[in-house]
Symmetry: D2
Subunit: 501 residues, 4 copies
């Protein structure tokens, strides 16, 4: 039994950096109805501020084209689809966190691609044409959305250039060249647009200092630093449809956030914002961990503490509408999404929705609890019980003392666990239907609703004591509001006069 | 422990008479947005065929008016509102089960009224004007909705004329006169429109035979017989806002259905349809029993068996948007509605929604269980544990053997009980807020969702055995579908490679 | 031919006082779905800030009730309906412009009523109970909607107390007493809530000065002055369903705005806001003028200039969902509404929607034209041709010179006239169906769309010249935006290669 | 002046074959929100029964995949997307008119492709794998949608195999082989599924007889015959973005319908249904004629008479959401769609919507008029004035005598012409914005509404005479309903008492 005493004097703001940005599959997917249905619901329940994904310049959106005029190829910039996509984002309250990439086929210097959808990852075959493209795109954004709006959009150059599969040969010098040309092209349209990089994945953090040194030496503009973070170890089994990895402990990710922030602080660019533009447990879109309750319990501490170290961290991704490993082959397939196909909310979805109910004043925080207060005086807690071991018997008792003072309180909770709000398990019981019927999807959606419970507490002393037992990987949102008891105004009320009561 | 062996040879159709008709507050309320919001949801989840309520001729709809022409008053029939109301019903898939009444103020012979909204319950002051009105209304319905449509609408004359508060002096001869004039007026428009009565409440069933004898003797048309049924005893406490009664056992209502049907069978009109045009536990709109789980558990047997005896039975009423005892004074106030204010589903709502999931083939039925089969071969059961005694310890173990044969089955359930899907209890914990905030209403709605649970059963013998323990007043829907197990198609699948699993 | 030369140097803000407030039928009607459908559309197309109507304390909303406790009647305040209504208003972006009235039946000192719906217009029978009611209502508003919000709501005391049918005996001293008690009761809840009066109709403007003198002498709080304005002469024919009046010229209303403003300026309360809390052509809800194009053409000048003199002027009313002369007896019946039954937009609706397209910079204004500029540099004009004489031949040529400078311009217009967007005329052609079928209503809605026309102008000199001929009572919105001509980018374009072109 | 005398004795059913089927861009586009928005509106206004498009087996839907198992490639059938697409169609009331094609990349025998999206048009590299695929797909349809449903879906084998760009070498023998294997694979799942071909474009009608002879000789199943029809001549100018052609006269298409029907009648398969599975004026998706009023006026006769000769004819296509010539490069770009980007209705959209208002009884028909009667006795006409010459002066007077008999009639019309409902022209006035702002799109949508006009006719003799003058390429819908004149019921009505009237 762990006993926790919350102290009301603790006074700190709980930053909402955890909801600043969300990752998405390739932007071209944003034309799809199912994608937009998911995103609308996500925005209602969570409400991210920015959205970031690959493929702005990929050929399905088709911005870069060439037409032949008098025997000569000339660039043609087609904004039909990108306008439709960004219009939709903005209508949903989301600003683009621009990622510049990948290479349009007609501008590519080689044919190396990544993903089932074959994004080209080679440098431009003509840096002048590239520069023109970047300028044209930036100008178009300002023309359509206004200067004031576009100045709030970060422009990040490329994605994970430190990996050979994302940037040909992981050629650092070539990346710096690309960065320089691109950043200057953007700034030539308006000097206050924010540009940044190097958008590396973890494991090569020397790129961060090299990148900032380069910017410093070459006087190249840089307005923010970005990096990714995943916490899974190398795979121990990989098949066509499954990718199995073990997870490190969650603190590892928090340490990375902190360490890289310190690296930046140690440069001449110590004031720059630091954005984690992708993070998740596993970096594989076919790792079943993403569908589990474990994933939610694991990430709880990261949502709770990540914002202490970074300006934003962007969960990769909001939806299983995603094609990097081809069209999803089954209802559950280990996809990154908070929301599964058919609008089925996965456990991690609820983790985010729970965090969205927290107050802005932080009262207490440890490895398994976060306690906040809202402006109306109510308290909102999230408690969790991460268990990475196998087996069922890992119940954890918790006794939390909240300094609410004398009075009656309405205490309500929403819970997810291995037993409740676990559609992945229900789907297994159904026989893992790859292409479930509409009825089956409806059942999965019903199965995904967190367990609601409530009680009235009558506090006679100083503390309201919550005696909880969390089951394995349970994550529970608890909301406590003072009761304004109107019972006395019901004259003659006597429930005992009803049969049964 | 009760053990139940279901036998697949039992072959019977389960009639859907329980959903043929639903009661509503005064028709004028059907102009309201909240009313229509409730009704839309009810139709999606349950899908009644007809709707019946008071007040077609009440002055808020305002059909009967008079205008002065050259110093003389002449009738003016205003269909502005009734058209809007019936248009809305039909758009929601509901046909009107017409109730002719109450008396327009300008046609009333006296000033006796009923309800907070003061419906006049006296005979017409001029039977010729009344006849003209009835004809005009009937003609208008045919003109607007077509003959074919209107021929499917029953026209019931008046409401509970055997009560002095619903019909002046409960004057039987005067009622027969009214019936005769009205029925003939309707038939004069089209002879195939169905007319009926006497719409009595229970306790004076001699009216039924008297009515049919009258029709026979006077050659007055009659196409159906109607009656009401409530199962609560006289009140033992009444205040301005509460009306407390005990309930009889549910069989009493079923016996009434059966007995009156037999009375009709014993007349020359033995073929006439028999409609229960109102029923509920209590006849009071301020009896808290309507908000309870008890109400749902109590009515389960009536929904299960009522249709054996009557052609329709119409629950009174679908919504707490209702004004017979004035504008509702609190979120929960003992109203008749399946749905409470703010679209909060009450336990009885779910009872109806559960019945709507049943199959059409009846396999087994007793006091606590109904088992059906659907066309696709799946089985759907409802089980309940009615406990009319006080106290908490009334768990009931049940062991149900279903002859499903060898195979894997997906068994899912939705449950309501004193603990789950009990918004009335949650509202008490909140301090019984009369006018809850939008947040409080949102919490009540979340609290009203039935508990979902599921499991996969592997049947190796003949029967799938369900070992259940029902808590007090629990009502549980259980759906069983065969599993088409696709697990083998996931090559290399191994959940044990995920941490925790 | 009138020639108008617009001068770009003219620099003035066009105030949007014309859309500050809108009138509504009795607040209880705001429970209705049709009412809310109309209001939603009105808010999308026009977007008023406040809404004002009678009946906050009328018995259909039922705020004031009494319950018997131990043989004694005690007040009970029921907020079920008013919460629903105000929630709906706020969700549509409308704040209540509170009108305190009429008298709840249980508090009335006499039985004098007004309107088909019988609003009681007598003083309270007990000023203490009245004071308690007003305080309770005000407190409830603050509890539910927050202090900050309620401080933006004006509270106007009563309606047209200078008329004997709206206030018993038009007793001025009694009104002052009512005002004093009410204003102080409101201020006792929060001193910054705005209170005002005397809400008189025209014709007794001495009430204004008397009222302010009274407030001054008695030190009674007053935060704004209010009055009504109608421009029709006494009726020359009145029947049960029609009320015919001639209109004065529109300037009369503007003079009244100005004169009363001057009266206020001449008191010690010269800084007080002055609100016209009702205005229209005719004050009768069965005067067919409201359905005509004349009504729109007539009001154009008032919308154009009224805001120079008053802080708000509130058109009476937005919708024909209205019951002061009983339930509407026909599709068109002379109702006040901008929108007719079945969501049919009347000509005056478009007048308001046209004004809502104007820019905020006023360039030119006269009796038949208003010219504005928007922030994006486009020009928006409204032109109209008010003809109050009978006959068809009143075309008016207009030549407007707009200093837009060299370039290409896209000029588009929307027009209403006797011929187009005149559903009242179409309804006459249909045979004036009182209760039109859904098909007929659909046709009326299609008939109510303004005529759209457009052209490209190529200005080579300084001015764009618009050569217009307005037909009788035509009102035309003209929008002029500069063309960014992309034609040259379509390589090889040649429309003449298409057949027909 | 043409005078037309309609005779009521003429009694014929007007077949609705014109709305049996509609064409669509590649099925993968049906995942997009804009596509589905367009289709929903099309279904509301027109209501087609079937939808047909390319790409069922194209790699973006991704049905055919292979996975490696123990070093061997095995087929994997992925129905995730096709289920989503067909679910959406059926929800919109559309059944699939299945077109089997093109070749999945992994099954292709060569790399020849068609369209910007590169559909492979080569025979299978392994007819056994192809057969397995076809069987698997057919079985899946039956499993998901039910046998009864799928038996109503025609399965057409391939598209335009008589063209070298749609079928490698236009190899007829190879097509017959493909047809035979495919048809038998489908029939092996259920013998009553309808299969057909040869889906040729015009110009090689010997394929029809060869195909039927082949089926006869080889005893290959065939349930219907299909062909395409376009009426434009070879292009006289082609650029990257424009394709200009002249049109033949519309009778040419009708003659083709008739002649091919006759060819079929002359075989042993004379009873087979004959479907035109694609038709339009031009077969190019960048021919501006599709955006014009000419296109609508041109097709009027074909909609009017086509159904006499063929069982269905499917306009190619419903929407400009289409990618055969790459992502659309501008708002208007000569696309096939009835509906342009941004939900802008093009003139031909209205032609179809007008036809959808016609009655089922055909009274009269010629080159410029179709007159029908509805069940309620109202008459509905469409008149048009096709002018394929250049210039503006081609007004056509028409005098139509309709045998309606004495009485008052409400005559209303909706018109499209070069002047009204011509958004293509308005877009030109705007400067042809490629990527219009949301405001510009809104203006285009308003500009696309047909002109509404109405009048009341008082017929004293036998005929109602319509004196019309149609402008160039005008298409006008005229609806005539008898007036039930209620004017007399408005006692005291006198419009002349209103100013202006």
């Amino acid at each position: 039994m762990t006993t926790i005493q919350v102290n009301k004097e603790h006074d700190e703001i709980f930053p909402d950096n955890w909801k600043k940005c969300i990752g998405t599959g390739r932007l071209g997917l944003a034309l799809q109805q199912e994608y937009l249905d998911h995103l609308k619901t996500v925005q209602e329940d969570i409400g991210f501020s920015y959205i970031r994904g690959h493929g702005l310049l990929y050929d399905d959106i088709g911005i870069y084209r060439e037409i032949e005029v008098d025997g000569e190829k000339k660039p043609f910039y087609n904004f039909t689809y990108v306008d439709r996509i960004f219009d939709a984002f903005l209508e949903l309250g989301l600003k683009p966190f621009i990622e510049i990439g990948f290479m349009p086929k007609l501008l590519a210097s080689d044919d190396q691609t990544i993903f089932a959808w074959e994004g080209n990852v080679t440098p431009p075959n003509d840096y002048h044409k590239w520069e023109d493209l970047i300028q044209a795109v930036t100008e178009h954004f300002i023309e359509r959305y206004g200067r004031e709006e576009v100045l709030t959009w970060p422009f990040e150059i490329w994605n994970e250039p430190n990996l050979v599969n994302f940037w040909k040969d992981a050629d650092k010098e070539e990346y710096f060249r690309l960065y320089q040309v691109t950043a200057r092209a953007i700034k030539s349209v308006h000097g206050d647009i924010q540009v940044g990089g190097p958008a590396i994945c973890g494991g090569s953090d020397e790129w961060i200092t090299d990148f900032l040194t380069f910017c410093n030496n070459e006087n190249v503009p840089v307005d923010f630093v970005s990096r990714h973070a995943y916490t899974s170890r190398p795979p121990h089994k990989v098949t066509a449809d499954h990718y199995y990895q073990e997870l490190t402990e969650p603190d590892k990710m928090l340490r990375e956030f902190k360490d890289v922030r310190q690296m930046i602080m140690d440069t001449d660019f110590s004031d720059l914002p630091f954005h984690i533009t992708e993070y998740n447990t596993s970096y594989s879109p076919i790792n079943p961990v993403h569908d589990t309750t474990l994933n939610a319990a694991y990430l709880a501490k990261i949502l709770s503490e990540g914002g202490d170290h970074v300006d934003s961290f962007s969960y990769w991704t909001f939806s299983d509408v995603f094609e990097e490993s081809d069209v999803p082959k089954a209802q559950f397939h280990g996809g990154f999404g908070l929301m599964g196909l058919g609008k089925v909310r996965k456990p991690t979805y609820h983790l985010f929705a729970f965090f969205n109910r927290l107050g802005s004043r932080l009262l207490y925080r440890d490895d398994q609890v976060i306690v906040t207060e809202k402006e109306d005086g109510s308290m909102v807690l999230i408690v969790w019980n991460l268990v990475m071991e196998k087996g069922e018997e890992f119940n954890r008792p918790l006794d939390i003392h909240l300094p609410l003072g004398e009075g009656k309180y309405f205490v309500s909770s929403h819970s997810i666990s291995e037993k409740y709000a676990n559609p992945w398990k229900v789907w297994q019981q159904m026989g893992r239907p790859r292409f479930p019927s509409q009825n089956q999807v409806e059942t999965l959606k019903q199965s995904a609703i967190p367990l609601f419970e409530s009680v009235q507490h009558n506090v006679t002393g100083e503390d309201l004591s919550l005696d909880l037992t969390l089951t394995k990987n349970e994550v529970k949102l608890i909301e406590i509001v003072v009761v304004n008891d109107e019972t006395e105004t019901y004259l003659g009320l006597d429930d005992s006069l009803i049969d049964s009561y």
